[in-house]
Amino acid sequence: MTKMHIKLTVNGEPKEVLAEPRELLIHTLREQLNITGPHIGCETSHCGACTVEMNGKSVKSCTVFAAQANGAEITTIEGLGTPDALHVLQRAFREHHGLQCGFCTPGMITRAHRLLQENPNPTEEEVRFGISGNLCRCTGYQNIVKSILAAAAEMNAMKEAAE
């Protein structure tokens, strides 16, 4: 099958790849662009480990063809913070033990980031419902929810201070 030219903006940088139409976005990111933050977990659109942001939507990149993402803006965990300058959410997950093995964490934080864009001041119940497409087999979710609520509070305080 002929390969397609696919143009994406990933974490603010323009990228171009050649991919068969059947190539899934998660494989393009991990294997062609070496962006390995998004993980391959269940491969069946249940676990959310592969969550990335595509044009302002949280999507499971194991269930999107790279061809569908042609022209799209993609944000992965790599686009949120760096080891030297962690995102507020990343810091909150570390401080509140929002991870144990860490496998679900990139998807969890990328999803939480979009959730807080749309609802900057969520209740605990809204956080739980908002991350219901992301599975964690370690934490029991308690500390993940705590981390997201703490990050929301900090982001709101930062916003207020800036105003």
Binding site: S45, G48, V64, Q68, S132, G133
Partner: protein, 284 residues
Amino acid sequence: MIPAAFEYHRPADVQAAIRVLQDHGDEARVLAGGHSLIPMMKLRMAELGHLVDLQDIAELKGISVEGATVSIGAMTTQQELIAHEELARVAPILREAALQIADPQVRYMGTVGGNVANGDPGNDMPGLMQCLGATYTLVGPGGTREVAARDFYEAAYMTDREDEEILTRITFTAPTGGYAYEKQKRKIGDYATAAAAVLIAAEGGKVTRASIAMTNLSDVPVHSGAAAEALIGTNCDEEATTAAIAAMLDDIEPTEDNRGPVEFKRHVAGVILARAIQRAWSRA
């Protein structure tokens, strides 16, 4: 899990999409949000030569509310539907139902059109659209036609849509009175063990109009006229609710699967319908 190879098309309008379908017959399928089709392709339970992505077709997008007439473009995502304030005001049952579909990520991609056109008995929108008395617009090589949601479903994955037709739009009259969409599922992201859509209009403490449809309890959604009839003229007390449940149970034909045996499903269907009737009545 890599699907079999296919050729990808992204037409800019409905006519161009139909031409691809005409050129390739049943080798081609349209792709809406892809969250039913792509998993099937990954499992190689669906293999097709040509995929026609509808995402660039502007005329398939958007929600319009004009007076009491609601029109929803087929490529409207569940998330867009949930976020639409005017729709939530005139027909809140849609938001209530859509929030119970899949999970957040799937709702950003999954479309209303895909949900109603796929013909999967597990999908929630077909039963809801039957409850609302919605009409589907289908466009094909021969032109445009309209089909009632109540006439559209023939069997699991078999609908009145022809291979070369595209479901473009859903239209219905905004309902008045009380509403409820009640769904029993094993976990977030699961299809219904049983779900019920209920609309009730009342005057002077009595039901004047009702509509009831059930999901995932037959190979097609079940609009139960007899169940609705059992509520007319009553105040939805226990006797009326029991009669409606009995009528509904005569209309469904659940089969055993990993969500439970037939007896259990019939039990859950009754519980869910009772809850939906109570909630709709409390809002009527």
